[in-house]
Each structure stands twice: as structure tokens, then as C-alpha cells.
């Protein structure tokens, strides 16, 4: 089937490994994609050394947004927050293994925006975080 719906994306969409909430958590943030109303919340637990020990996402949205959130959670566990802050658009595209047009790119990058806004302690997940 076509690239956009590679098996890995459908698989992560239908059977995510990191869907849920963490309570208590050290960092939690949620925001919407105003374009389509997709919603993502991300909860993190971070140890005293600043390493992400647990990560979960919750929310609703299309296969691209939900699969990229799941892949993103998988990738940041065990990583220092300083490294999480450096993640960018290309890292997400590499994880998904696809190329996306400008509209669907927003779906794919929603979880990274929410994650970085949470880690930086910002009030809003703005586009500039992933550019």
C-alpha cells in the first residue's frame, strides 16, 4: 500500500504502546491542532539526573498524529531532557519514514510541539518549536 499508510503507522495507531496518563508526573502538557481539532496530552516522569524514565500520551486524532506520538514516546524514554529539547521536524519524519505535505506535517508534529512546550514549561505549543 501507499507510503503514507506504512504498516508501522497503522500498527502504532491501532495498538499504541504508550497511550495513557501518568499520575503522578513531573511534566504534563496538552494542546490541540487547531486545523482539525486533534488533541494530544503528554505526561513524563523524569529522574533527578534529568533523564526521562517514563512517557505516555493521550488524546485523539488521525493515524499520523497518533502514530507519531507513540513513536515519539518510545524514542525519548531513557533520554536526557536536554536531548529532548533538540528534537526537530526531521527526527519525526525519520521515525515515520515518510514524507508529508504541509497539512499533514502539522498532524505529525503535534506531539513534538506538545512535548517541547511541556519540557520548556511554555504556555502554548507553538509552531516555532518544531521549525
Amino acid at each position: 500500500m501507499d507510503d503514507l499508510y506504512r504498516e508501522v503507522i497503522i500498527e502504532h495507531y491501532k495498538n499504541p504502546s504508550y497511550r495513557g496518563k501518568l499520575d503522578p508526573h513531573d511534566i504534563s502538557f496538552a494542546d490541540n491542532n487547531p486545523l482539525c481539532g486533534d488533541h494530544i496530552q503528554i505526561d513524563l516522569r523524569v529522574n533527578p539526573e534529568g533523564i526521562v524514565t517514563e512517557a505516555m500520551f493521550d488524546g485523539h486524532g488521525c493515524a499520523i498524529s497518533q502514530a507519531s506520538a507513540d513513536l515519539l514516546m518510545e524514542s525519548i524514554i531513557g533520554k536526557p531532557l536536554e536531548e529532548v529539547k533538540e528534537l526537530n521536524r526531521q527526527d519525526i519524519l525519520d521515525m515515520l519514514g515518510i514524507d508529508l505535505g504541509p497539512v499533514r506535517l502539522k498532524c505529525a508534529l503535534l506531539s513534538l510541539k506538545v512535548l517541547k512546550a511541556g519540557v520548556y514549561g511554555l504556555g502554548e505549543a507553538s509552531d516555532s518549536l518544531v521549525e
Binding site: M1, D2, L4, Y5, I10, K14, L35, C36, G37, D38, H39, H60, G61, C62, A63, I64, R104, C107
Partner: protein, 416 residues
């Protein structure tokens, strides 16, 4: 007004399709475009494209003040289009047809000019739960600025306006009732004449969002007795960048100007100005002249095909599409049955986000829209973040509906 429906296929759709060159193009993977997104914007027939091209090739000039040949010609074309548009909606005079950028700007014109001159804190404006954001946000802004009150006619589960609830809201002395003639999501055709009559009996004025109705139904603003009526060219075979605010002349006369600048004035002194006559009073600055010319060509085209025949054709397609969609397991269609709606079908497919539905359909050249279609509160009402929407126009065919259904089965296969 009840719609009279002539038999299905009242127009020669094969012939119509030849008028729209874009329908012949292919998508990236070599598929013919199956365009089911006319509610967002319609395609343009050759007559419209040619009229605009000819204008730039032959008549381009700024309007209204030039005395040279080109300026005279451009002015005549611009004003002549207005007269044809006025006839198309049966306005009493061309002076009641104000050019704007689009429906959104038309509604904003009423909110800025009429409402700011006439509404004070506590005054009630009645809207509906099925409004497009363009008929919500201008009133939210006025609410923040002025402290006006907003109430909403509820939408029933079937996707119709609850007229009993409306009647009781009218008991609260509203100043304005502003509502959509046809929902861009549910397709519901609201009983505009009745809503307007009831509003007038309660002493309120009315503003109708006609973005979806004027392209698809025969609209007579005098028969409706609408005070204001807003619509866009680009959804009715015309270009983007131009729309109309129709207003009864007595109302427009009494309103302060909207934007200030050239063309909207009769006289300017260093410290004062006198506003121009209607409709120019509301048209500041060099307008979209080529677009007005294209708009005129669009109403000529629609008139030639026949609005009643277009409505009947779309009704047939919609009836067929609803029937076929019902067959697909997991599909849920929103909105009333075919006899109460226009050619718009919003639906969800269980377990698949509308964005994914639209994306997979696109791979076969099928263009549908996915999202909240600028009607977020309506989607919230139905408890869903988004829908997919297939919409039809005079060039739509049953074969295209069949391809949509085939595409939906493919989506189901991919998502297992």
C-alpha cells in the same frame, strides 16, 4: 418556500462537464480528479475564466473616475455585473448589492456598521448552533466589545433547527436573527422565509448567510423578505476574492460607512468627508474588478443552466449518495434526509479519523474535505472532533459517488 423537484438528471451533466476544464486534469498518480469538495469552493467554467482573461487583455483600467476609453469600459463591466447579480437574487435595485471580498466580509460589514450603530450592551442577537465560524466570531467580538447577548437556536439530532425553541427565544426581544440558509456540514436547508417572518413579527432584523444556498438554490431576497443576505462568488462558479452583501436600501442608507477611503466618498475636506451614495458608500479602495466581471459571467452561466434544474440534479445525486453511504458498514451520516438538504454529506467511518479517510481517498484522485469545516461548535454538539464531507454540484455524477463508495471500502481494508 417548498422546492419543486423535477426528475433526476434534469441537466446534461456530460455536456456541463465539458465547460469545466479542470475536471479533465489528473492527480499526481495519474488518476482523474473526482472533485467532491464544491462546498469549500466550486470549479469555474470556461465562460468565467474567459471573461476575466478578456477583461485583463482588453479592458483593464481603474474604475469610476477615469474618462478614457478603458476606464469607461472597465466601469461599465464592473457595474453591469452588479446589475446581473442583483437580478440573479431578485434584489429590488443594484444599489442593494454591495461588493465585498466574500460572505465573511459581508457578515463583518453588518457587524461593524449596522450592529455597532444599533446595538448596545444587553441587546440580544440570535444565531444557531449550525453556524459557520464566519457567523459566530464577528458576534463573539461584538459581545466582548459591547456586551451584547447571544442565544442560539438549537439543532435537533436529525440536524434541523428547533423552531419551537426559536419561537420562545423570540419572546426575549431580539434585535437581530442571523442564520445560515443552508448548513455547510449537515446540508440542512433551513426554512428561511419562516425564520425571517417570525423574526420580523418579534421586531428583529435578519441577516442570512447564503454562502451555500445562493450557489445551489433559486434565491429571491424579496420573496424571503431578508434584511441582509450574504454570499460569495467562488462557491457559485465565480472567482475567489469577491462576494456580496445584499441589504434593503432603507437599512443600508441609514448605516454608517464601513471602510474609509477612495470611492466611498462624495466629497472630502481636510477635516471631514461626505459618504457616497449606495452601494459605493461601502466599497472603499480599488475593488476586485476582474473578479466582479467573473462573478457576472458566473451568474449568467448558472442562469443559462437553470437554478431549479441544478437543484434537482444535486437532489438526485444526494439521494443516491445517502443510499450508497448507508450500505457501507461503519459509516454514519450526519444531517437530515435528502428532501430536507442540499448536496452536502458529512460522515464518519468507525475507527478511522476523517483525515485518514480523506488522505486515502486522495490517493485515488477523490477530493473530499476532512475536519470541522469551520463549524467546530456543531461538531462538539454531535460529540465528534471532525467529519469527512463529500459535496456535489452541477457537474457531479453518480459514477463519482460510486468511486467514493469504492474508496471507502479501500479505507476499511487498510485500517482492517
Amino acid at each position: 418556500m417548498p422546492r419543486t423537484l423535477t426528475p433526476f438528471m434534469s441537466i446534461n451533466v456530460d455536456q456541463i462537464r465539458k465547460d469545466f476544464p479542470i475536471l479533465e486534469r489528473e492527480t499526481a498518480n495519474g488518476r482523474r480528479v473526482i472533485y467532491l469538495d464544491s462546498t469549500a469552493t466550486s470549479h469555474k467554467p470556461l465562460e468565467v475564466i474567459d471573461a476575466m482573461n478578456d477583461y485583463y487583455r482588453r479592458s483593464n483600467a481603474n474604475i469610476h473616475r477615469g474618462v478614457h476609453t478603458l476606464a469607461e469600459e472597465a466601469t461599465a463591466l464592473y457595474e453591469n455585473a452588479r446589475e446581473r447579480i442583483a437580478r440573479f437574487i431578485n434584489a429590488a435595485s443594484f444599489r442593494e448589492v454591495v461588493y465585498t471580498r466574500n460572505t465573511t466580509e459581508s457578515i463583518n460589514l453588518v457587524a461593524y456598521s449596522w450592529a455597532r450603530a444599533n446595538l448596545k450592551s444587553g441587546d440580544l442577537v440570535i444565531l444557531t448552533e449550525m453556524e459557520h465560524h464566519s457567523n459566530l466570531v464577528p458576534w463573539h467580538m461584538l459581545q466582548m466589545e459591547r456586551g451584547i447577548e447571544l442565544e442560539f437556536i438549537p439543532v435537533t439530532d436529525e440536524g434541523l433547527l428547533d423552531l419551537d425553541a426559536y419561537k420562545s427565544l423570540l419572546g426575549r426581544n431580539p434585535k437581530l436573527v442571523s442564520f445560515t440558509h443552508m448548513s455547510n456540514v449537515l446540508g440542512t436547508i433551513n426554512p428561511a422565509a419562516e425564520i425571517i417572518h417570525l423574526a420580523h413579527s418579534a421586531g428583529a432584523l435578519t441577516l442570512v448567510d447564503g454562502a451555500q444556498s445562493v450557489p445551489h438554490l433559486s434565491v429571491d431576497v424579496q420573496a424571503l423578505d431578508a434584511d441582509f443576505y450574504a454570499f460569495s462568488a467562488h462557491k457559485m462558479c465565480g472567482p475567489t476574492g469577491i462576494g456580496v452583501l445584499y441589504g434593503k436600501s432603507a437599512l443600508l442608507e441609514g448605516m454608517p460607512p464601513f471602510l474609509g477611503g477612495g470611492d466611498m466618498i462624495k466629497e472630502v475636506k481636510l477635516r471631514s468627508f461626505r459618504a457616497n451614495t449606495l452601494p459605493h458608500k461601502f466599497e472603499a479602495g480599488t475593488p476586485a474588478i476582474a473578479e466582479a466581471v467573473g462573478f457576472g459571467a458566473a451568474v449568467d452561466y448558472l442562469t443559462k443552466v437553470g437554478m431549479d434544474d441544478i437543484a434537482a440534479h444535486e437532489h438526485g445525486i444526494t439521494e443516491y449518495a445517502l443510499e450508497r453511504l448507508e450500505e457501507v458498514p461503519g459509516v454514519k451520516v450526519f444531517g437530515p434526509p435528502a428532501e430536507k438538504k442540499g448536496g452536502v454529506t458529512a460522515f464518519t467511518l468507525a475507527g478511522v479519523h476523517p483525515h485518514d479517510v480523506a488522505q486515502i481517498l486522495d490517493q485515488d484522485g477523490i477530493a473530499v474535505r476532512a475536519g470541522h469545516h469551520c463549524a467546530q461548535p456543531l461538531h462538539e454538539k454531535f460529540g465528534i472532533p471532525a467529519t469527512s464531507r463529500a459535496s456535489f454540484y452541477l457537474y457531479s455524477t453518480k459514477e463519482e459517488v460510486d468511486l467514493l463508495i469504492k474508496g471507502l471500502y479501500k479505507v476499511k481494508e487498510i485500517f482492517g
